[in-house]
Subunit: 691 residues, 2 copies
Amino acid sequence: MLKNFFNPRSIAVIGASAEKKKLGYTILRNIINYGFSGKVYPINLKTKKIQGLKAYPSVKAVPKKIDLAIIVIPAKFVNQVLKECGEKKVENVIVISAGFKEVGGQGKELEKELQKIARKYQINLLGPNCLGLLDSTIKLNASFAEGMIKSGEVAFMSQSGAICSAMLDWAQEKRFGFSRFISLGNKAGVNENDLIEFFINDKKTKVVLAYLEGFFDGQKFLNLARKLSAKKPLIILKSGKTQVAKKAISSHTGSLAGSYSAVKAAFEQTNTVVAENLTDLFNLIKLFSRDYKIKNNQVAVVANAGGPAVLTTDSIAESDLRLADLTKETKDKLTKDLPFSAGINNPVDVIGDADADRYELALKTVLNDKNVGSAITILTPQTVTEVEKTAKVIIQQSKQTQKPILTSFIGGSKVRKGIELLSKNKIPHYLYPETAVHGLQKYYSYQKCKGKKQPPAKINIAEKNKIKVKKILAKADKTVDFLSAEKILKSYDIPVINSGLAQSGKQAGEIAQKLKFPVAMKVISRDILHKSDVGGVKIGLKTKAEVEEVYAEIIKNCQKNKPKAEITGVLIQPLFKGRELIFGLKRDPQFGPLLMFGLGGVYVEVLKDVSFGLAPLSRQQAENMIKKIKTYKLLTGVRGEKAVNLKSIVSTILKLSQLAMDFSEIKELDINPALVNEQGLKAVDMRILID
Amino acid sequence: MLKNFFNPRSIAVIGASAEKKKLGYTILRNIINYGFSGKVYPINLKTKKIQGLKAYPSVKAVPKKIDLAIIVIPAKFVNQVLKECGEKKVENVIVISAGFKEVGGQGKELEKELQKIARKYQINLLGPNCLGLLDSTIKLNASFAEGMIKSGEVAFMSQSGAICSAMLDWAQEKRFGFSRFISLGNKAGVNENDLIEFFINDKKTKVVLAYLEGFFDGQKFLNLARKLSAKKPLIILKSGKTQVAKKAISSHTGSLAGSYSAVKAAFEQTNTVVAENLTDLFNLIKLFSRDYKIKNNQVAVVANAGGPAVLTTDSIAESDLRLADLTKETKDKLTKDLPFSAGINNPVDVIGDADADRYELALKTVLNDKNVGSAITILTPQTVTEVEKTAKVIIQQSKQTQKPILTSFIGGSKVRKGIELLSKNKIPHYLYPETAVHGLQKYYSYQKCKGKKQPPAKINIAEKNKIKVKKILAKADKTVDFLSAEKILKSYDIPVINSGLAQSGKQAGEIAQKLKFPVAMKVISRDILHKSDVGGVKIGLKTKAEVEEVYAEIIKNCQKNKPKAEITGVLIQPLFKGRELIFGLKRDPQFGPLLMFGLGGVYVEVLKDVSFGLAPLSRQQAENMIKKIKTYKLLTGVRGEKAVNLKSIVSTILKLSQLAMDFSEIKELDINPALVNEQGLKAVDMRILID
């Protein structure tokens, strides 16, 4: 759909101007100046010629076809002009103008109208309130940003024009190139999903980088991001992690930030690389724009200084990477080639008087080691250090290997030229080695997961059971009552603890006797959410007599504490010994069904030790949800305990994932607690809310 | 002691050379070239004149007094020459030469001899294996580093020569100044403690910065660092956090890295600012070299871009800082002064077309706000942005306030000159705003604690009790038996659960009856460490008969599972309901008595949720140890439970702190578990190991 968007052969600039101060001047000039080879039509009501080109009073007056129109006139005139574009059958439009959703009030209305027109005429609309776009593949600068991007294979999109400006300025200085560079603006039309979809098959783009403040359609994002990152890295800096930040966003582009738990799960499940902040964003692109082969997490460190080598070792130890175990051959060769006092164990210390040749010997040797997956080369400027020559050695070595070589030349003016040489030759350089380690870890973990399929697990639920659930949900109003919730779980083969509902003390005693003593008793009432708080729960009852007595007591408590509650009865459950678990489901406004898992009780209440996943989950993703919690070890057995039945947990998560997919009317679901032991799992209490 | 070291009026360079390639040439040249105004004596056996100065064959041949000698000759000759220095009464010596402890073997012996000579003649010895020192206050470059440091108020010391080189190069580029700049080398004589002690009263130094790989004397460090940081910030980058890194250190300067838990506690208790890595070190000095007044943790953010402002807000939310609540007056003024679409809530968005004047209006207004403790100003290069003029505005504002103003101009060449202006005027600048937030948080927390006294809590233990403990410890051999350990705790007023030792079934029954049912029973034997594993523990015994029976059972189990164990008896303890706690004491090789606290059981075994402190502790430090654990909330009451008796925990920690201080022969101590409830605490099981 966006193919023509990126390959226009004719462009109209609506609002093109001869006045240097106006954006319409800058944009027209930029299109002309940087080598765009197609037709350019300035559109201006009052002028016949602008910047040497014949101008037209409207797009309709242009005799030929227009592939792309750029609108840069005051907001209030934009919609009329867009309509004209539609009538002229212009398929692609960029609205630079601000004054829409981001200013609120009238602006919001204008934007709605804008969207309506774009939809009516099937226009691909970028913006409004954006900087425009730049495209090095056709030498087009259709923005008001100064300068042109160098050609490269990284595509960049940003929801913040300012971050576009900063990135452009940075890239110019570092001579970093891009394929396409897009300012998303308010995303009234084209959004990140459209672009991600386009980039999947865009041969000019090998890495996609994005700054996003919100997601247009989270579920579509999941699907597209997964497809993209199976082919090339997708790196995203997402702002608005926190509630406070959220407020700032709404006052900014009016976009809604999603709950960060869902965002994190979305990134993880799609193998999207997370840039944690701006530092990270700028650091990651250096590495990800290279196409290395990294076969393992073993890093060789070569340095002319012990101190920085130790600091690098510290960083590696804190990451999922590790120092490579050098083979005996490597160590022998290093012993032979390096001076006596050099360190031949990894980190390899070529010591302070190392010249470029010594760096070469060491680097070549470690790169040839079969255990080594990547290398970090560190240089500090000492008396005899050959900074530029060493940079050249690294560049040379990098040509002879597919393993990543990262560098950190630490200092100031003495290392400056070396760093420039490295950057020019696309060797990832970092001011300090710990940043290199951080980047490398992300690179490794992206590559490790790249292309691994995670198909949703197949959970077979009998059709009649689905119909049963459908009926229960249809009848329910907001809260599904306990007994119905129990039925829903049972219909999805989620084991629920045996129980019976008693409506008299006598009945309670009889039920308890049929189950096994000791039993627990809980009031069932749609009006009582927190049963313990009203004295509606008693546990450990050992005799029929006790049960009968407690029945009356529970009813009395509830009548006293919740006089208006309608009481369905009292539930009798036998004892089931096991660890408390909590399972949850919530609809995230952006990503849909978000599942939660954790150990119940204090672990969830105090430690908030839970993990999230977005349905539909693959089996491995469900397993990861379990492994991710900090208290995972409690499930595999500590202090000589046996491991609990992990499979029953995985299968419960997957069944809930299926349930969430099948019934979008389920808004929230809690199983809290479920109990699990060596044999299996039983849901004990549950709650379902519907829309 | 080091006063003359830093103010020599005459310097001898032993190994001074006329050959340009030699370090002895460089050092002599450096001393002459950068304006040192005292006498300089080249010492060289073979030459009469070097670099225009009369040379002498030895220090003894120099007719006048020598305040400082610098030795730069092969290692094997150093000791002889040092002896001559001693005889000549040279009080201060720097040994540049390498080939000592760091090369192992013979080098280690040489260094021992070196230390012996230095001690004998009471020489302040810096090095060996170091770069030398630079001192801007007397224009002295007594090192082989090129260039001279600019004058400044930050003192720097480093255990890695390479990090010295990198720092010098960085500082030259950034025009950053130092008072003194010291390469520590192997620390055979002068170590970090001597320097910290000197800097406490050094008027030329306002901030002390250090890179350390190990501590020379941790307990002395605690004392001196505390004194220093009460007056000026001490910032330390400590490498070797991890076991792997430790290995690299020993192969480097042969220094031993301490356990990082103790290091962390040491930094915390002395209000030492921790640089987490090199990035951090370089970023922190920009801020800490300024003498701001920061009265609270409320930050105002002024930006010309929504995106970076939101990212900054994210970072602030993750820190202990918070976005300042601007007063109504501030907001009114901003509304009046700024354009309609600007954001007048914090972060203040002066929007993309902000010129320097608008930045000035906004910045001035927020700085005048009484709620605002500090400000971060962010700039991205947009079409009309006045980069340099905005930098000047910030510099101007900074002169009119004592509140910190941090800056982040994000981009490349467009912002370059602005950044240079800021740096030149000592306005802390960060490539990205999250780094500014990180630095500001450390600055705020240093200032908050600065000068707050933390005197060790006074714990009065009767002299006769101390004597009792002394006697028990004198009799014990490695492990103190349970009953003695119990006595030791009781002597220090640490409540121990009531108990009685039974040596027959009958006696067991009688004891149990005197205590209160239910009781627990545990075998006591110095040969049985893990009582449960051998069937030596039974709990919940409710009758006399049961106790008598279980006595026999326990003895039988132990005889079967540990046939050779000598059994003292079986301990009877009543039930005490409460949360499990663990208290511990360990001797850290560098910092001495390290106390540990945590919730027992799975919290310590699986979550490793414990905190550390170094004895002697102040009351507040003990309280902090409790508050620091992640499960702290479990102690203050969750799910409607009452809070436990926190005072009893504080007092137990403090009593253990006192015990640790009084008896250095206690090597390790565990109270595991102790139980605590609303009323108080009881130690249930304990273990003491001695040297």
